[in-house]
């Protein structure tokens, strides 16, 4: 298989999945921004950088899916915390359901093909 084709395809997939990954990362609890970004950067195969995640977080916040707050820190710069809004949680659930359905369909296709 052509490497360029695969690279382009993975870029497309990652682009679509990034927002869902951010929402899922916030599913359990409010998270400190730096920590959140570091976690996402280290997700294998996602291949994102800090420069990509911050604009996405801002966009999700403007869309009302993510909320944020600043908390003063005695040991360094003020810390920014992110959390899911109610709308964000709904969107995350819908996206996860869609992903699961899609995955099942793709798997079924593969089995039929075999």
């Amino acid at each position: 298989m052509d490497d360029d084709f695969f690279d382009n395809w993975t870029v497309q997939v990652r682009k679509g999945l990034l927002e869902l990954c951010i929402l899922n990362a916030l599913a359990e609890e409010e998270r400190y921004g730096y920590d959140l970004v570091k976690t996402l950067v280290e997700v294998h195969g996602l291949g994102v950088t800090e420069g990509t995640i911050y604009p996405l977080l801002s966009r999700l916040r403007v869309a009302g899916l993510v909320g944020s707050r600043l908390e003063e820190s005695s040991s360094g710069p003020a810390r920014k915390y992110y959390s899911l809004t109610r709308e964000g949680r709904k969107a995350m659930d819908t996206m996860n359901d869609y992903m699961a359905d899609l995955n099942r369909s793709v798997t079924r296709l593969r089995k039929k093909g075999a």
């Binding site: 420069g51 801002s58 869309a63 009302g64 909320g67 944020s68």
Partner: protein, 878 residues
């Protein structure tokens, strides 16, 4: 401390500037992303433990970052977000000190200031009449603080809640801004020139600050519009408006209920019955309103700026609730000195000083002691009772003690004493206007020591004494009452202790009146009474402690007597005459037509059944009509009908279904009843009513009917419970009015009256008449002068009825009696008596209850004399 090299700083700035340019139009908040990136770099530097940050360090970090937005598809983003990109130069700053001061500090300080000082409530109107209002006003600084803090932190987590609460706060600000609108121009001038008057301006300032905070917050979290501005404001404003609606309707109702025409008045009263705010009505009644609400927009709009006096409000309050205003605790008084400065539920200023009404409780005045000493004369079927009262005043100013007293049926005040510097001073008796004038001259003008007693209705007197000295001063008075017994039979009669109907002084919850009565023959009373049997040295006596809470009911003592004694006499003042009193069995002729007037006030509802049951005992053949004195006087059976089972059944049903509401004006119903009764040969009106604490219509027409009526029509009045009655007060001195003694339930007392008409119960009357002294031998045994006093009282009333006022005044004055024509006044000095052409009673001529010691001495003397006489007789026989 971490140091950055110049080039490191520049490198980061360039990256950020580049990022901003790239992010513009992507749907992300470029400013925010740049701040986040800078913060992230700071974290990286901190995590790496760098002390000096060089350009290479930054480049290494930024290399990991990659170019911002590189992974975002521009078209997709634009589709998702309609938020236009913000121009970097127009970025909103964080909400700062000014917004905090105007939106948080100012409303909070104003709220606390008003709560502590009541400044607005004392001068303009009360902006915080309830805890709900306080909570609503407190919401403004609380919400503003939250939104201020969230704006500073770009905290969008509670965006929806904060937006709605901010909308509600806007509505609250608008509401109060409208309330203070009329005063705002003056307040502005006041603030500019005198630095005072910030309260009326606070809602406007807070409104601006709240709106500004909303806009700033929206910009800070990159939202063009926040939800809930309009609906939140409508909710906040609407909530307070609805809360104020009963107040507005109360003002409206009060204005209508005080109108001159009857239809408007009735409309106002009905509105108040449905929606009236009890506390507000009470505030008007207690005169605590008009001085502090000159700029109350709600009142101005709702009442049409109609001023309502306290007197008008009191009458309306009675019509609406059926309760006298002063039977209810006054609402909190709002003054400059403090919002919760309740005046101990009493008036500070006594506006009724020297007048003829008792009015509300005055501050600091209370009853210190009360004792009633009575002596019965069973043969003469009477009791003489002295009620000694001590008033204490702990206020810092002089007070007048006033009380309406219910006398025993048919009784008369025959003595009045005031203690001045420890000495007893007897009253002067004179024409009613003469003694009142003397009292007002001495009490109100000269502020010296007088006491005045005048009548205020059948068997009712008004006692007033002034001044009860301030700072713990005490004033002591004694009222002597001569009362005939209500004879149940020849063997016994009942004496009803006098009691307060209305008073302007306080009585402690555990206060008790000390009652003492003695008699040469047996006495019986309540099971709680202590009865001491007769002995050689003392008569029968009965004593009891009566709590004031129980004194409202008719408290009685049964005086036993010898059935053989039917006639007694006493010499009259005029020479050569005796007054003879005879017990006669008087046939009580049933009226040919009976009109029963039932008060339609709310308190009468529970008596409807009793009344219908009693009506069943009316003699057959009598014509009967029942009128319910409601908002309109209504004859239940249309016109008088012969008493028959069907008629009574119909009346009973109608009466049970009748509406009893508020406090009703009974005068129109009494006029109608009198007309119907007087049109028959022998008519009677039985008026069953609760205390009428307000005179709602002039009584002059009714009084004219009764004065001019030449028929034998009589009005029997039965008051269902203790209390003052303004209608009865106005019928004072009319011979046609007869009070039905209250001994039991309404049913039993009505039955007693009807039983006399039925001939089932004999009516024993005490008939007093002057006879020639030569008939002494046939007039029975001699008794005290009290029967002369009782005869003089009745005669004075007859003379008044015959319009021979002067003769009546002369007779009552000579016999030292308080009647509708005369009164009693004690003045401090002989000069004051002389100036007012009055002469105090000679202490030797006034009646008295023997002191216990005196009684013992007299008893011992009598016993010794009897023993001496019997021994002498024995020695003579020998």
């Amino acid at each position: 401390m971490i140091e950055w090299t110049e080039t490191a700083r520049r490198t980061l700035d360039e990256y950020c500037a580049r990022s901003k340019a790239v992010l513009a139009g992507t749907g992300a908040d470029a400013e925010e992303v740049v701040e986040d990136l800078r913060r992230h770099v700071d974290e990286e530097v901190s995590a790496a433990g760098l002390k000096i940050v060089t350009e290479s360090d930054i480049r290494r970090i930024l290399a990991r970052f990659g170019e911002p937005g590189s992974a975002i598809e521009k078209k997709a983003v634009e589709k998702q977000s309609a938020v236009p990109p913000r121009e970097p130069g127009k970025e909103k700053k964080r909400p700062g000190f000014i917004l905090f001061a105007l939106g948080v500090v100012l409303p909070l300080v104003t709220l606390i200031f008003e709560l502590i000082t009541g400044a607005s409530a004392g001068v303009l109107f009360d902006p915080l009449p309830s805890w709900i209002h306080i909570a609503a006003v407190a919401l403004v600084p609380v919400v503003n603080f939250q939104i201020w803090r969230a704006g500073r932190a770009r905290d969008s987590r509670h965006e929806r809640w904060l937006s709605w609460l901010n909308g509600i706060a806007l509505g609250i600000c608008v509401y109060y801004m409208i309330l203070y609108l009329p005063i705002m121009p003056f307040a502005t001038i006041g603030v500019i020139y005198f630095g005072l008057g910030l309260i009326p301006l606070t809602p406007l300032v807070a409104l601006v600050a709240t709106s500004w905070l909303r806009l700033t917050y929206a910009a800070r979290i990159a939202k063009e519009k926040l939800p809930g501005a309009a609906w939140g404001a409508i909710a906040g404003f609407g909530f307070l408006f609805l809360l104020q609606l009963p107040v507005a309707l109360t003002y409206y109702g009060l204005a209508r209920a005080s109108a001159t025409d009857k239809v408007t008045r009735l409309h106002g009263v009905r509105v108040l019955r449905m929606f009236g705010d009890d506390q507000l009505m009470l505030r008007v009644c207690y005169g605590l309103l008009w001085r502090d609400v000159n700029f109350d927009v709600v009142r101005l709009v709702a009442s049409g700026n109609q001023q309502i006096s306290a007197d008008q409000a009191r009458a309306v309050y009675y019509q609406v609730t059926g309760r006298p205003f002063n039977s209810v605790q006054p609402p909190p008084l709002y003054t400059r000195r403090g919002r919760w400065n309740v005046v101990d539920q009493e008036f500070e200023w006594d506006g009724a000083l020297g007048g003829e009404v008792v009015a509300g409780r005055v501050k600091g005045l209370s009853l210190l002691s009360s004792r009633m000493d009575a002596v019965a004369e069973p043969d003469a079927s009477l009791v003489y009772c002295e009620w000694t009262l001590e008033f204490k005043n702990v206020a810092s100013q002089q007070r007048e003690a006033r009380a309406q007293i219910a006398l025993p049926p048919g009784a008369v005040v025959s003595r009045l004493t005031l203690w001045i510097n420890g000495e007893e001073r007897e009253a002067a008796f004179g024409g009613r206007s003469q003694v009142r004038q003397a009292y007002q001259q001495v009490a109100v003008v000269q502020r010296r020591d007088p006491v005045l007693v005048t009548t205020c209705g059948p068997d009712r007197v008004l006692v007033q004494c002034f001044p009860v000295p301030p700072d713990g001063g005490v004033m002591k008075v004694r009222i002597g009452i001569t009362a005939p017994l209500i004879l149940d039979s020849l063997e016994q009669g009942q004496f009803v202790w006098p009691r307060f109907l209305e008073r302007n002084f306080g009585i402690a919850a555990d206060f008790k009146h000390a009652l003492w009565i003695e008699s040469p023959v047996r006495l019986s009373g309540d099971p709680t009474a202590v009865v001491t049997p007769k002995s050689a040295t003392r008569p029968f006596s009965l004593r009891e402690s009566l709590p004031e809470s129980d004194a409202g009911e008719s408290k009685r003592v049964v005086v036993h007597r010898s059935a053989d004694v039917k006639s007694v006499w006493s010499p009259a003042e005029e020479g050569g005459q005796l007054i003879r009193q005879t017990i006669r069995l008087v046939p009580a002729a049933a009226p040919a037509r009976l009109i029963v007037v039932v008060d339609g006030s709310i308190g009468m509802q529970k008596h409807a059944r009793e009344i219908t049951d009693a009506l069943l005992e009316l003699p057959a053949g009598m014509e009967l009509a029942v009128i319910v004195a409601g908002d309109e006087a209504r004859v239940l059976n249309g016109k008088p009908e012969k008493v028959a089972p069907a008629v009574l059944t119909g009346l009973a049903r109608s009466l049970r279904l009748a509406e009893f509401v508020g406090g009703q004006d009974n005068v129109p119903a009494l006029e109608l009843a009198w007309d119907l009764a007087a049109s028959a040969e022998h008519g009677a009106v039985v008026w069953i009513h609760q205390p009428q604490s307000a005179l709602l219509a002039p009584e002059s027409t009714l009084r004219q009917y009764m004065e001019r009526d030449s028929t034998a029509t009589r009005l029997y009045e039965i008051q269902t419970r203790n209390g003052p009655d303004r209608v009865i007060e106005k019928l004072d001195g009319l011979a046609a009015v007869e009070r039905v003694p209250r001994f039991g339930s309404v049913r039993s007392d009505l039955s007693g009256l009807f039983a006399e008409w039925n001939g089932k119960r004999p009516r024993l009357a005490l008939v007093r008449e002057p006879i020639a002294a030569s008939l002494e031998a046939s007039a029975g045994s001699r008794c005290s002068k009290h029967i002369v006093r009782l005869w003089a009282r009745d005669e004075a009333l007859h003379l008044a009825a015959r319009r021979e006022r002067e003769a009546g005044i002369k007779l009552a004055t000579e016999n030292q009696l308080v009647t509708p024509l005369t009164g009693a006044v004690v003045l401090e000095t002989q000069q004051q008596f002389t100036q007012n052409r009055l002469a105090p009673a000679d202490p030797k001529s006034v009646p008295a209850v023997p002191e216990p010691q005196t009684a013992v001495l007299v008893g011992v003397g009598i016993v010794a004399w009897i023993i001496f006489r019997s021994r002498r007789r024995e020695s003579l026989n020998r």
